[in-house]
């Protein structure tokens, strides 16, 4: 009964969105809003459809996605490995944690100019900037996950005489997974943002470049289409991560 109600509500909600879009379409049609700033939704969808038929679009799409994934994966692997090492060692933490806390409040994109100076305005700079910025959420959260192990479980490990490797693999790592995933979610958001920003600055082929050019030439339908695509990328990547999280953390929900 409740599930049916939930599904019904979801459709009603979809209807609300459709109604709002419909109102916008009407307003654009009646020229109540500027067609340049708020083009009719149909035109944006049309543009999206047309773009998806061109090879250029898919090239830009692949480039942006490639950079995002490359940066994100590199940052995740490094962040988890380093975070585990730091989190498990109170001695290392004493030396390193204060520095980590200093880095925390820095806006991720602020380091881009440094990378431009070092590497130039090219593809490598973009991937480096993405990887560097995505590293911190994963690292910080992983450290937290590994340093806050339930002490009772550590005692159980000692009583059972588990080896250090066994302790890390069977107890520390599963315990840290929720924190690690929280870090990964943040890092994913950061990678998308950095990809767009870096692309806009570097002027390389990509989705960020697409919307910048569209805005400059006042092609607002193309611009909105590009925004929709970026929103979709954000949405889908998040869902994928969520699925992975739900699968690996099955034991959490009763």
């Amino acid at each position: 009964m409740k599930k049916q109600h939930g599904v019904l509500m979801w459709f009603a909600s979809l209807g609300v969105l459709a109604a709002l879009v419909g109102l916008w379409q009407l307003a654009a049609h009646l020229e109540l809003v500027s067609p340049v700033f708020f083009p009719a939704p149909l035109r944006s969808f049309e543009s999206l459809w047309d773009q998806m038929g061109t090879a250029d679009f898919w090239l830009a799409f692949r480039e942006t996605l490639r950079r995002m994934v490359l940066g994100f994966v590199t940052a995740s692997v490094a962040g988890i490995a380093l975070g585990a090492a730091i989190g498990l060692s109170p001695r290392l933490r004493a030396y390193v944690e204060p520095t980590l806390e200093l880095i925390r409040p820095l806006p991720a994109s602020a380091m881009i100019p440094v990378f431009v100076l070092l590497i130039g305005l090219n593809d490598r700079m973009i991937v480096t900037a993405i990887a560097f910025s995505s590293l911190w959420p994963v690292l910080l959260n992983t450290v937290h996950g590994f340093k806050t192990i339930e002490p009772r479980l550590l005692e159980v490990a000692r009583i059972l005489h588990l080896s250090r490797l066994e302790m890390v693999w069977k107890i520390a790592l599963p315990n840290a997974l929720p924190d690690i995933f929280a870090g990964l979610r943040l890092a994913l958001t950061v990678s998308l943002i950095l990809a767009v920003v870096a692309e806009m600055l570097a002027g390389t082929i990509g989705l960020g470049q697409n919307i910048t050019l569209a805005a400059r030439s006042f092609r607002s339908a193309d611009l909105y289409a590009g925004i929709i695509v970026l929103g979709a990328v954000g949405y889908v990547s998040n869902i994928l991560l969520q699925r992975a999280e739900q699968h690996l953390l099955r034991w959490r929900t009763p």
Binding site: E155, R158, L160, H161, E166, L249
Partner: protein, 256 residues
Amino acid sequence: MSQANDPVLSITGLDFTVGSLNILNDISLTVHEKEFVCIVGASGCGKTTLLRLMGGLLSPTQGRVLYRGRAIDGPDPELAVVFQDYGRALLPWRTVAGNVELALEARRVPKDERAPIIRDMLERVGLAERADAYPIQLSGGMQQRLQIARCMAQAPQVLLMDEPFGALDAMTRQTLQDEVARLCADAGVTVVFITHDLEEAIYLGDRVISMDKHPGRLSETLTIELERPRNQLTTREDARFLAYRHRLFNLLPPGH
């Protein structure tokens, strides 16, 4: 070959001090093979500390704990500890069966031999039906049973239980008391059982030792001469049971 009266645990002149606070003072205790010893005392008297010392989780400031003649210098799977906060001692990401399996992994039992042992353990504690459930899905009593099953899967010589039923309701407590008594008798383990509940101590124990506080010190020992298996109704109404209860009640400080 261990005889019926061999000391399993032997503690002499044990002191435990933290900073300037003397928590345990001059503790001496001998626990024999297959004995069920209950230590009873008010909260804060140091019984948990004593148990942790016996389990090798703490080191004494003075004195030693001997397990079968050799000094304990750290925890050991043969001395299984059943913690009071059972929820925190279980791995939430493993199923009921998985939690029991952890002990078998520690014992290096080959993979293909594990399933029957796990099934047997779970049947003994009545959790066979919930083998695939996660700890979070279990009630408090079931979680504690799971912890006990995991500890028994360690094939321990000694079971150290720290107020295991303190967080459970009265009915569950009584059921588990009988289960533990039966389990331990069947497995032939030596038990040290900590509680603040006088009647529980008398009901379960072969010997009940009372503990003073500030600093923690063992005072009287009562040998319980009630027949086994014990019964929640008849044993508790037995005149001797009531006499023991009187003795203990007078031994422990007021306001207990």
